[in-house]
Symmetry: C2
Subunit: 360 residues, 2 copies
DNA sequence: CGTGCGGATGTGACCGGTCACACGCATGCA
DNA sequence: TGCATGCGTGTGACCGGTCACATCCGCACG
């Protein structure tokens, strides 16, 4: 019943190329580092050195060992390695969501960069910013099997986890601009410029002011809102109250209805493209044309936004690049090296069809 | 009180006076199972039994041990456990994509179910169906640290990995209907009924036939296409040639342009909602109204599709449920139990605004 | 010729759990 | 009383790597 693990590594002085019959039919035995060492006529440590590209191995020995590895189809056991070193060679991403565009793209960028580096990738969703959920997530990634930790801290739950992480854990974070007081490498996409630019774009078209629907993660000082305020202030335009929406499309739709009912609203800066979609629907239902009656701008640049009708003017955000940068950051933490300089593609306004001069 | 790491140096009197028996640099003094055993006055094995909810522990001992665990904030080391048992308690998802709606939702369902079960979740993207990429992915998940394996095999790359997996690996798959000859639990969402229903819906509105834009993963015998063909055949309608599109929105747009230029096209069944978006754009550019001139139906039911203008008639697919089912399947594999019966929410047509009778 | 040195390699302990099995002891039954 | 049974528990080996340190060897130098 039990697939008997048999080892019996040493002592065998045979050189018969014939494979030893498997211990239990059905369960094939995977070669271990000791098997490779024996076959190559060296010690396990030497094989280990070859695997870890240590310089203290002669070229000839290295070649021999590599040949045996190839012949035996040997693959080092990640679990054993992690137990020996005290930490897994990989990263675990902590996030409160895996499907919203910003989160999913960041995750994609992380996965890609990690794969290139030969790192394993784990995912752990933190359910909310309640203490129990946060502690569970923090406990989870405190385990050595988690490897390095990357927290997607765009929201309260993520930030809470970031704060709850043990000091000693190698970690980095992707954050919204304005998140401070986190004693860890934290990288963000600074959208303030682009947000201001989007607002100026609308103003330049002749709109008297620009309304703003905020995403949940947005604070007064975060990039989107700060840029918007700044541009309005610079133009001497009125700053309308911020309308807040949730992550769900329905709440954005509700927000849209409020704005659609207001004849003074001619331009709307939406916190993301999903909100723009719902706001556009609300305007449509109110009989208002986009961009004829009301102009809208989104954030994110979701795939397909150029195929909307009308094509959406939006701020493209390189979340994948952000994700890649966090991998570099956590890798540096893991190696105890100084943080590398990051250069991210800055968010950029893409003007398409959903913005136009106001009807006069 | 403080649980110092115990080192088994019996009376080892060496002459290093400076070094206090402190943990290695970079290592934390995290309590181990031996610390708990010592503090509780039992053996490690007894602690292990408590951790694994073994029935062979007296209630009193169990309570004592649990108290000590709580007091010491002990957390079992997942790496060590995996090394001891020969396999990690977790699942690794192999997929060729993480952002497309079907893949991402399935992944989300898997993550959720796994988290509930206390399983770790890993992700490994397989770059293509080329042999090297497939073997790398298969090698990756062959490592015991991967735990159980779930392959999202909606496409050629996924199917190839599924086939390349060692027989002995505990694995399950989420597949398109019609994928056969895989000696593993393979679960799918049978969309044939819903696809036929969608086609019948269009026919009943008065359309003479229904055109179809296929997603890349679709074969002649897959559910979407089979249902569509069946409904057309049953109604005695002509079966137009299938137009194929890629995963990128641009290629769907190109497909849409071809159909938009054809005056005989009045109803289009799109392989997914992204395609529907692009086709709708192409129709718009050709001066055709949806649903006035042409009706369109999508697949997936992406969030927000009810807020499109017009709101999209589509087939809702419960990918998250599919993902959850694969977790149950792989858990059964892991435990050597028979496969549980699966009951998934079947795909379901949701009629909204994008379908209407043809103009006469 | 003895010694120091540094590169290449090997050895035993260790990481923190689990597994197989042995053991002590109370109980049931012949 | 003898012995099988079973429960609760403990012991040593083991999983497959890495770490720290020891060892071996050739060579330059005093």
């Amino acid at each position: 019943m039990t697939p008997a693990r048999q080892t019996d590594h040493d002592g065998d002085v045979n050189e018969t190329p014939v494979e030893v019959p498997s211990p239990r039919p059905g369960r094939e035995t995977v070669p271990s580092i000791r098997d490779v060492a024996a076959a190559a006529g060296v010690s396990r440590q030497t094989v280990s050195r070859v695997l870890n590209a240590s310089p203290k191995v002669s070229a000839e020995t290295r070649r021999t060992v590599m040949e045996v590895i190839e012949r035996l189809q040997y693959r080092p056991n990640r679990v054993a390695r992690a137990l020996g070193t005290g930490r897994a060679r990989g990263v675990t991403v902590v996030t409160s969501d895996t499907m919203l565009y910003g989160y999913a793209s960041t995750l994609q960028g992380i996965e890609e960069a990690a794969r290139v580096e030969g790192l394993a990738v784990g995912v752990r969703v933190v359910e909310s910013d309640r203490e129990g959920d946060v502690r569970n997530a923090a406990d989870y990634v405190s385990d050595p099997s988690a490897g390095g930790v990357i927290v997607i801290a765009f929201d309260a739950a993520g930030v809470a986890v970031l704060r709850a992480l043990p000091e000693s854990l190698p970690a980095a974070a992707a954050v919204e601009p304005g998140v401070l007081g986190v004693a860890r490498p934290a990288i963000c996409l600074d959208e303030q410029q682009a947000s201001a630019e989007a607002t100026r774009h609308l103003l330049a078209l002749g709109h008297r002011t620009v309304h703003h629907v905020a995403i949940p993660s947005e604070s007064e000082h975060s990039g989107r809102q700060a840029g918007w305020r700044r541009a309005l202030a610079e133009a001497g335009a009125a700053v309308p109250p911020v309308v807040r929406a949730g992550w769900d499309v329905r709440s954005a739709y509700q927000a849209g209805r409020v704005l659609a009912a207001d004849p003074g609203v001619t331009a709307i800066l939406c916190g993301n493209d999903d909100i723009a979609l719902a706001v556009r629907r609300a305007l449509f239902e109110a009989g208002k044309d986009v961009p004829g009656d009301v102009s809208i701008v989104g954030f994110d640049g979701v795939p397909g936004s150029e195929y909307w009708t009308p094509a959406l003017t939006t701020v493209e955000m390189d979340f994948a690049g952000l994700g890649r940068a966090t991998v570099a950051a956590v890798l540096a933490e893991l190696a105890g090296e100084p943080q590398p300089a990051v250069s991210l593609t800055p968010p950029r306004l893409v003007v398409r069809e959903s913005t136009a001069p106001p009807r006069r």
